[in-house]
Subunit: 102 residues, 2 copies
DNA sequence: GTTATATATGAACATATGCTCATATAGTTC
DNA sequence: GAACTATATGAGCATATGTTCATATATAAC
């Protein structure tokens, strides 16, 4: 059998999949996305719930923003974040419920 | 609103989810798992198809073996690998087909 | 038993990742 | 406009990650 007997993934597809899974691969980001899957949250709220520094949370939100997995709206000094990729939330919830069912 | 108004994930659940997503976060492992989702493969075959060194492939297989995502059978000098976690393959295929549909 | 083949494994290295610390930015309140 | 609040951001650092290189292991063929 040689290399041409397979159905292949394009490099772009592999990279994009890798990016999505990388986004979900960190415990902090899992917790943030799980929170946002339940309700809109301010940065401050996320910081308190996860018991992390403001900076650490903000860096992770920046990461998620760059991947367009979350978006925010501003209200005065407060930034309210929501998720912005239904599919990724679905994948996350599938994996979480699969784990919890064991 | 305080910390107790949320449905929380247990640390174990978060860690386990993180481990699954980390496994899928690397392009090489995505390609290997995708190959194995289609057919049983020898290490040598994977090495050729992915055009990587034997060592690199073997290290990644070792990684996937530790997470029980793949298993193998031996036939003489040849090790034939198959996937060993249907759910992870399902998640991978969902993400891949979602990307390819865009 | 020696040689060849297929795979595994340990050390080393370069890059990526996630956090902290310090500071910048921008809106709010007085 | 000065002080306060909420968030963002850049630099630095420690750890994790993925590869290469060299070598070990184990079966096969002779």
């Amino acid at each position: 059998m040689n290399q041409h007997d397979h159905s292949f993934l394009s490099p772009n597809t592999v990279d994009e999949a890798s990016r999505i899974f990388k986004a979900l691969a960190d415990p902090t980001r899992i917790k943030i996305l799980y929170l946002l899957s339940q309700e809109e949250c301010s940065v401050n709220h996320i910081t308190e719930v996860l018991d992390m520094t403001q900076s650490a949370v903000s860096h992770q939100l920046s990461f998620l923003r760059n991947l367009r997995l979350v978006k925010y709206r501003r209200e005065g000094n407060t930034f309210y974040y929501t998720y912005d990729d239904e599919h990724v939330i679905t994948i996350l919830n599938q994996v979480l419920s699969h784990i919890q069912c064991e």
